[in-house]
């Protein structure tokens, strides 16, 4: 029987997102994208930020391969930030990172992070934090490029 920590790490919501990910598929027209690699396992992601005229994030588009955590995290991120103002996205990346780095001490706030709060269990597994962060780091980089 698997431990409750493991059950919590791989909740159905997470496995669901990893199998039928949101935002998967890159677009031809792109203002800003970022490619990130996790050198320990070779997992990678290419993520595009599509911003509307009014400055809100219209969509996140991404492609990549990796573990269930990294795929679900990219999907949950894309779902969360659609239609959100850029500053709100940046704030959520910071909040998510803080929770991931907390070694299980900070429960992610579902008010702010929506379903992505389900990834909270990852922070107990230090070796897996990078997996969960991959898409969010790519988004942070793509947003920075958008400014430049």
């Amino acid at each position: 029987m698997s431990s409750s920590d493991l059950q919590n790490l791989y909740q159905e919501l997470i496995l669901d997102h990893s199998r039928t990910p949101h935002g998967y598929g890159l677009r031809d027209e792109v203002r800003s994208q970022s490619h990130q690699v996790n050198p320990t396992c070779g997992d990678e992601i290419t993520l595009q930020v599509h911003r509307a005229e009014d400055g809100t994030i219209e969509a996140i588009a991404w492609e990549g391969h990796g573990c269930a955590i990294s795929q679900a995290s990219a999907s949950l991120f894309a779902e969360l930030v659609e239609g959100m103002p850029q500053a709100g996205v940046e704030r959520r990346i910071d909040v998510f990172r803080e929770a991931m780095r907390s070694r299980g001490k900070i429960e992610p706030d579902p008010e702010l992070l929506g379903d992505a709060a389900a990834l909270g269990g990852v922070s107990r597994y230090v070796a897996r934090v990078k997996c969960a962060m991959l898409a969010w780091v790519a988004a942070e980089d793509a947003l920075r490029k958008l400014e430049g």
Binding site: S3, L9, Y10, E12, D16, T40, G66, A68, I69
Partner: protein
């Protein structure tokens, strides 16, 4: 005694390794990551501690009693480890690890090509028009130093491919090892596939065209009887921590006349005879290649590891590993959705198998097994080109050693089957 180890023997061996009596995540530890690093028996830990408690001193310098005794046990350790691989003590150079040993040879070529080493180093001079040959199944440690050597010297790096199963394409050997070849570097046992390569054929092909041969013996010396002179290799590298010894120590075997012809890699104290402000003369090998303070307690502990292995007997260890290896390959391969990398290769095996499970990433599989106290390696195992060739990004590897039982192998087989049920519960 002959033949594989009995269950009772393995249980006795296991009792010598305190870490194997511990629990991980509430389960007794099942350690199946010896291909990455092995555990150390009390005899090895005690040897290092005894040295530090009773003899610790700088070697090859100083005239006080401790310094003399430390030098003697340090050199005894060299003779022990050299003897273990069929070499004599003048042919064994201590390095920090196998990676440094490969780089030592690469930089000997590089430095010779830059004009160092005089007439003696002629054989090591390479440049445009020369080929360095390696294989598609190498660990990055036996690939990147050659990429860099090729880039520095203008030589060409050629790669013997593997087939769809992962086996070396020996049928194409003559188109890769040619009169342009100056060095062939290949692994004895693949750290991903667990198969023992027919290295004699590669050595013969290299020597036929006058090329030198370097053997990556990291996964063979700990698990099989390896006799460097009988294999007729020019160089061999291996690391201590994969054979019950400490980290921070490895070795380079080199044929005596080759070591004598080689310019040094690392330079500084302890490797010289006469030094002026403008130049220096160097000691003969092996000291020529051992600049700076040496890893004395590690060398002594590695010699203790070698004695421990010899006490069991390498042929019996090889037989034990082959049994566990076949059990792993057969058991994992029988699970629906599991592909054992290199399963179709008809070569002798050590106790190591890497798998790809359809729809389950290696990190997720490794996490599930860890939850049951089973330690395996996940990722690309420092062999990205081989994984790419086999159509996967990463794999999950179980690797055994003298302290693993058939029960350990069965635990990982059951664990993989349970992981498939766990991750596929959502459709």
């Amino acid at each position: 005694m002959t033949g594989a180890l009995t269950d009772a023997e393995v249980r006795r061996i296991k009792a010598d390794f305190p870490i194997l009596q511990t629990s991980v995540n509430g389960h007794p530890l099942v350690y199946l990551d010896s291909g990455a690093t092995s555990q150390r028996p009390l005899a090895v830990l005690d040897a290092e501690r005894d040295y530090l408690l009773n003899l610790n001193a700088a070697v090859h310098r100083g005239a006080h009693t401790l310094a003399a005794e430390a030098t003697e046990v340090f050199e005894d350790a060299r003779a022990t480890v050299a003897g273990f691989i069929g070499a004599d003590e003048g042919e064994l150079v201590w390095t920090s690890n196998a990676t440094e040993a490969v780089n030592l040879v690469a930089y000997a070529f590089s430095n010779a090509s830059a004009g160092r080493g005089g007439v003696a180093a002629e054989r090591l001079r390479i440049g445009r028009g020369d080929d360095i040959v390696t294989t598609e199944m190498e660990h990055h440690a036996n690939l990147i130093p050659w990429q860099e050597l090729a880039a520095r010297t203008g030589a060409n790096l050629r790669v013997i491919p593997v087939d769809d199963d992962g086996a070396l394409r020996l049928d194409e050997l003559s188109s890769y090892i040619t009169e342009r070849t100056r060095l062939v570097a290949a692994t004895h046992v693949s750290n991903v596939l667990g198969v023992v390569n027919p290295i004699e054929r590669l050595v013969a092909a290299a020597h036929e065209v006058g090329a030198l041969f370097l053997l990556d013996a990291c996964q063979s010396v700990p698990h099989l009887p390896v006799d460097a002179s009988a294999l007729d290799v020019d160089f061999a590298v291996f690391s201590g921590h994969k054979m019950l010894g400490p980290t921070g120590i490895g070795a380079l075997y080199g044929r005596r006349e080759l070591l004598e012809s080689m310019p040094p890699f690392l330079t500084g104290g302890s490797m010289i005879t006469t030094v002026s402000m403008t130049e220096a003369e160097y000691l003969p090998p092996p000291q020529r290649f051992e600049a700076g303070t040496q890893r004395v307690s590690q060398a002594i502990a590695l010699a203790a590891a070698v004695r421990y292995l010899d006490g069991i007997g390498m042929p019996r260890i090889a037989a034990h590993e082959a049994e566990l290896g076949h059990r792993l390959v057969d058991g994992l391969g029988a699970i629906d959705g599991v592909r054992v990398l290199g399963a179709g290769i008809d070569l002798p095996r050590v106790g190591l198998a890497s798998i790809d499970v359809a729809g389950i990433h290696s990190h997720d599989l490794g996490q599930f097994l860890d939850d049951r106290g089973i330690a395996v390696r996940v990722g690309h195992h420092c062999a990205q080109p081989l994984h790419r060739r086999l159509g996967v990004t990463s794999s999950t590897r179980a690797s055994t050693y003298i302290y693993n039982t058939a029960d350990d192998v069965d635990a990982v087989i059951d664990g993989v089957a349970a992981a498939i049920d766990f991750f596929r519960r959502v459709r």
